[in-house]
Symmetry: C2
Subunit: 154 residues, 2 copies
Amino acid sequence: MRLDFSVAVHSLLYLDENRPRKIASRELATSLQLNAVMIRNILSVLHKQGYIEGFVGKNGGYQLIKDLAEINVGELYDLTIPPTISYARFITGDSKGTQTTDETDISVNISQTLTDLFTLADEDYRKFYHQFTMTDLKRDLHAHGFFRQLINPK
Amino acid sequence: MRLDFSVAVHSLLYLDENRPRKIASRELATSLQLNAVMIRNILSVLHKQGYIEGFVGKNGGYQLIKDLAEINVGELYDLTIPPTISYARFITGDSKGTQTTDETDISVNISQTLTDLFTLADEDYRKFYHQFTMTDLKRDLHAHGFFRQLINPK
């Protein structure tokens, strides 16, 4: 779900701005306006991938390990929103080939053609995000329009 | 919904293969494996845009007016899947600015940054589809792999 990506981006930006303070998931939850459980799932993924460190106890919380410039936005996207494995619910026709009512065989063959189209489009879509690092997003956060300017320079 | 795009693509390919026969929405429904009402909604859009013609009566049905080579896949995509107006459900933070719990203002500002990111990514995504005409999809339908080859030539 695209929200997982936003949770990751928001959390990393928050940890960065608050360096070197350790941030509890409850504090992040307030900033993200989401419940802490949902955020912890994503923090766990970011932890496994070596983006952040977590400390337990009284002065516990999360800290960002990497520099924002080292964090590719596309990698975050791939991590939090894995490619769709099946496009079945977006595809028309008789992909199981159970009927032969369609003389032109479009009904049976359209599934593979549309799956290829959607898969290639998704690969292309991900390339867009891979052009940027978290530093670009941070700049836009402090000066809206930076990002639009970066993509569509006058 | 992405299914609307598939309905349009499938219908146009079916009408093309069956030229000059007039095709009833019931026959299309069998090929698409969807109910006829859903298909008629999309056919109505295609009719308004001048892709197809509809005839009522005993020998009624739909006919493709345009040549597949004249039908851009991206135009079909834009027609059936309009750009998202609001990304609210994919965005974290306090976009209404009702709270001031977040000293860094990330919570208030992240909404616009993520909206810009998603909007620009979507514009880029649509460009992918605009590279092709329905003729490309027809070729792939008859020889799977054509499309992959077109995008990623060896």
